[in-house]
């Protein structure tokens, strides 16, 4: 029996101890008409060998293409040591550290994670993580509503240049909270959130405003001006950032005069594999002033009976298992293992390594864009500055181009027509440090081929 250690003799002894004659007897309180019959959709058991063979076949189906898609998930090199250590049984198979004395490993690690994320964001504090970037954004909005006591409107300005599925997840999650999500259009020329567009709301009661850096189009927002404007409205600034980019770009805590109030985003670029979309983790940082409104687990440093430093879950009074219907969120886990990997990743690469990864990604993206723009009819969709993603305008329909590139084993980018019909000839490309010059040239020549084929 897979995973069940009972011998016949064990079962007999246990039944005798209980005082029943069969395992079946243990279910005698369940109305017989509720008992399940045969399972019809569960296959017969495979042993590990056959399972691995099946899974290798499935894996092989999806392997091998060069990937230039970003759009919220980023291919970076993950040092071998990161997951070797993270998947040690003691990290991987432990639960939430309810018994602090027997969980100091996980607890100290998360405290270190919180410290790293806070310094990376230049913010005061970080929580222990949320599910992912998109749901984290929703939690940030809910937190802003709790934290901005001066505001009554529950109105949030959401730039259209925020990741589209982040915006839809935000809408789905805050759906029943009487929150007014107002979309702010992006500037068609620059692909950024124009201060002009915001000015329309000047003087209104706005609870919070989201600023994405880089934004979904890979464009850099003028975060200082935006943050200052937001604070002038007595509104809270929610920074939505790629944490890898923060090794090179100015961090939320340093935006404008006072810095952002909440910084949130997806931690995946920091040592977490793309893995079809998860598990990733959402990080969230904030200023000391509003920490008690933070959702999710928090680990604090304290001392034990002997005065020795130790780590424990803290501010649990905010959480569902204590406060139940009055909790700040229904969240009851963090994404512990992904955070474990990220913490080890950040330790191994250090501040300079992180800046090099981010910098090389920037450089490679600029190189590819330059190469592609040398093709007749291809150009940048937007002016302004980009980081490691860029919207590229094609002479033909981007979906078609991407399909044909995929046939050549190049996943060429994200079809921006899926987001906005006006961008149907544009694709969003991403290049990280993992790509070589030869890869970039391969992309270019494939695109030349594809365009020739289409334009015939």
């Amino acid at each position: 029996m897979p995973f069940i250690p009972h011998t016949e003799q064990d079962v007999q002894e246990m039944l005798e101890t209980i005082g029943v004659s069969s395992i079946e007897d243990l279910f005698d309180e369940i109305p017989p008409q509720l008992r399940a019959g045969e399972l019809t959709q569960v296959p017969d058991a495979l042993n590990e060998m056959d399972m691995m063979r099946r899974m290798r076949e499935k894996s092989a189906q999806d392997e091998g293409a060069l990937c230039f898609i970003g759009a919220g998930a980023y291919e970076h090199h993950i040092p071998a040591a990161v997951w070797d250590v993270a998947t040690r049984g003691e990290f991987m198979t432990a639960y939430t550290p309810y018994q602090a004395e027997a969980s100091q490993g996980t607890l100290q690690l998360i405290y270190e994670y919180q410290s790293m994320m806070a310094t990376l964001m230049a913010m005061d504090v970080s929580n222990a993580s949320l599910y992912d970037g998109a749901s984290g954004l929703a939690e940030a909005v809910l937190m802003a509503v709790r934290a901005n006591r001066k505001s009554k409107s529950r109105k949030i300005l959401v730039p259209g240049a925020v990741h589209p599925t982040y915006r839809s997840a935000l809408a789905a999650i805050v759906e029943s909270q009487n929150i007014d999500l107002v979309e702010v259009p992006w500037n068609a020329e620059q692909g950024t959130t124009a201060l002009d567009a915001l000015k329309a709301y000047e003087g209104e009661d706005i609870t919070a405003v989201i600023i994405a850096q880089p934004n979904f189009f890979g464009q850099l927002e003028d975060v200082h001006a935006l943050t200052d404007w937001i604070h002038q409205q007595n509104s809270l600034a929610i920074a939505l950032v790629n944490p890898m980019a923060m090794a090179v770009l100015e961090a939320p805590g340093n935006w404008g005069e006072k810095g952002a109030d909440i910084a949130v985003g997806d931690g995946q670029p920091l040592g977490v594999p793309m893995a079809s979309g998860g598990p990733y983790y959402g990080f969230m940082c904030c200023t000391q002033a509003i920490v008690r409104q933070m959702p999710g687990r928090l680990i604090g440093r304290t001392v034990d009976l002997d005065g020795k430093p130790g780590y424990a879950l803290t501010l649990q009074a905010r959480e569902q298992h204590i406060r139940r219907s009055k909790a700040t969120s229904n969240i009851c886990t963090n994404q512990g293992l992904a955070v474990t990997a990220s913490t080890i990743y950040m330790s191994m690469v250090g501040p300079d390594g992180l800046a090099n990864v981010a910098g090389q990604s920037y450089k490679n993206t600029q190189s590819l864009v330059e190469l592609l723009c040398s093709i007749e009819g291809v150009g940048r969709q937007f002016s302004g500055h980009t980081f490691h993603e860029c919207a590229v305008k094609l002479p033909v329909n981007a979906a078609l181009v991407l399909e044909k590139l995929a046939e050549r084993e190049i996943l060429g980018g994200f079809d921006l027509g899926r987001v906005d019909a006006s961008l149907e000839n544009a694709m969003l490309i991403c290049v990280t440090e993992t790509k070589s010059q030869a890869d970039l040239e391969l992309y270019k020549s494939a695109l030349v081929d594809v365009l020739n084929e289409i334009q015939g």
């Binding site: 999806d62 410290s115 999650i173 003028d222 598990p279 780590y311 963090n334 994404q335 920037y362 991407l402």
Partner: protein, 486 residues
């Protein structure tokens, strides 16, 4: 020692990433970071040694018996990790075209079918990233259902007093008022009280069965009738699904919607508190509201192709809850677990989980511990109450829990459910051997003796862990959440 305390400015003993800084002078100067973040600067060896040693300060399934009630800490097959680490699965971009995703999509489709079968439901969405998000999706679907019928009067969700804390918190997140339903002395919902609470204002009820009291809710069919007749829906909290896996299907009990905790019932590792995954399953009524994305299948089994179902396919969906499709890697692990168990193995989960819990309950009772529900069958978990020891010896449930750590046994869940005083909620799971349970029972018996002989000593436990009991008050008052260079 913290990793930060091992940092030295300028230390770079790694071979991991490009050694060269890139020229970023093309970026606007005011958008470029001025001061580098205070991340640790250590060698590869220091990082590995630090985190390897940190890990050794944890209890875990791989090192200890871990009967944490309601958390289902069972064996996590390493084969599932190996499968999820295959390059085509680990490195697949979530937005890769369907032409390059058939391997992954077929696994997800099959998992959906398996979960429908074991729950007795008609539709599954795998996307929720944890049990609590599954609960949210479920209650949001209940709300969407009532709204679609223009049934706007339903403002309340009923929750038994024994429920997990996530249940009321979720109902509130979905805009409902919460009303608690009392539980009787045998651990069952008080159906008479329930009847007085139900009405046209009732959107639904959130329950788990077996309940958190570790007993099977015997009147579930009656409860379902009461709720349904009032126009409400039943939500099943899948946290306790392990108790009945392969034995009873929530759909057959009358539940309309539910979530599953794959990191519990489907043995994906808990990872120190996540990630898990909390797929939702629904019956016909709620099919139109499932969260996206879902995997659809086209063509016959031999020549099937798989594709994403999105908003266009499910126009009434409550929407997407994550950037992509949730914790895909966890879903792969659960799929692997399901095909390793197979049909027969699935039936056995509930059986042996129940056998183990009843065995432990009986043995502990014989050793002098008080069962909270002595006249009931235990399900996959059971509760003892240490009220007597607390009163007579001054040794409470927490003291005993901490002392267990000194015996190299992870403590059970303590002080939950709230309605049983000084309780331990104990769940051995089906993957633990009789010997492992016997050791735990021996430890408990020994602690009982110690409590009689030397209660002071027990109150000071643990003594063998990296730290002694921690000052939680100081942690909350003098909030220290991040290291700062001094």
């Amino acid at each position: 020692m913290l990793i930060f305390e091992q940092s030295r400015s300028g230390r770079k003993a790694t071979a991991q990433v490009p050694a060269e800084a890139a020229d970023v002078s093309g970026l606007p100067a005011d958008l470029v970071r001025k001061q580098k973040p205070g991340l640790p600067e250590v060698s590869e060896l220091q990082a590995i040694r630090h985190y390897t040693n940190l890990s050794r300060k944890n209890f875990s399934i791989d090192t200890q018996f871990y009967p944490l009630g309601s958390c289902t800490m069972k064996y996590n097959p390493r084969g599932a990790l190996a499968a999820a680490s295959l390059p085509g699965i680990l490195n697949r971009h979530p937005l890769a075209p369907e032409s390059h995703s058939q391997g992954f999509l077929s696994c997800m489709y099959e998992l959906q079918e398996i979960l429908k079968d074991v729950t007795g439901m008609k539709g599954v969405s795998l996307t929720p990233m944890a049990g609590a998000q599954g609960e949210f999706a479920g209650v949001a679907m209940i709300r969407a259902y009532h709204q679609s019928r223009n049934d706007d009067a339903r403002t309340e969700i009923l929750v038994p007093s024994a429920a997990h804390g996530t249940n009321p918190a979720t109902a509130v997140m979905c805009g409902y008022k919460v009303r608690e339903v009392p539980v009787n002395s045998e651990g069952d919902v008080d159906v008479d009280a329930l009847k007085t609470l139900v009405g046209p204002q009732t959107a639904g009820i959130m329950m788990t069965n077996p309940s958190t009291c570790g007993v099977f809710e015997r009147q579930i069919e009656e409860i379902a009738k009461v709720i349904h007749e009032a126009g409400g829906l039943l939500y099943y909290d899948g946290a306790n699904l392990n108790a009945i896996l392969g034995k009873v299907k929530p759909g057959d009990m009358g539940f309309d919607v539910m979530h599953m905790n794959l990191h519990k019932t489907f043995a994906t590792p808990h990872g120190g508190g996540g990630p898990g995954a909390g797929p939702v399953a629904v019956n016909d009524r709620l099919l139109p509201f499932l969260p996206t994305p879902i995997v659809g299948k086209e063509g016959s089994d031999e020549a099937a192709t798989y594709r994403w179902l999105t908003q266009e396919d499910i126009p009434q969906t409550i929407g997407n809850l994550s950037a992509f499709m949730g914790n895909a890697g966890i879903l792969v692990r659960a799929y692997v677990y399901a095909i390793l168990l197979g049909k027969e193995g699935m039936h056995r989960v509930g059986e042996y989980a129940t056998l183990n819990a009843n065995y432990m309950a009986k043995r502990l009772e014989k050793e002098g511990f008080q069962l909270a529900y002595p006249d009931r069958r235990a399900t996959h978990e059971f509760i003892i109450t240490l009220s007597k020891q607390t009163k007579d010896l001054g040794v409470n449930a927490m003291d005993v829990a901490k002392r267990l750590l000194d015996y190299n046994q992870h403590a059970p869940t303590t002080y939950f459910p709230l309605l049983v005083p000084e309780c331990h909620l104990i769940e051995p799971t089906e993957t633990e051997s009789k010997e492992a349970m016997d050791e735990y029972i021996a430890a408990m018996a020994s602690i009982l003796k110690e409590s009689e002989a030397n209660p002071e000593m027990v109150r000071g436990a643990p003594y063998t862990q990296p730290v002694k009991r921690l000052d939680d008050v100081k942690a909350a008052r003098e909030l220290d959440l991040a290291w700062k260079a001094s």
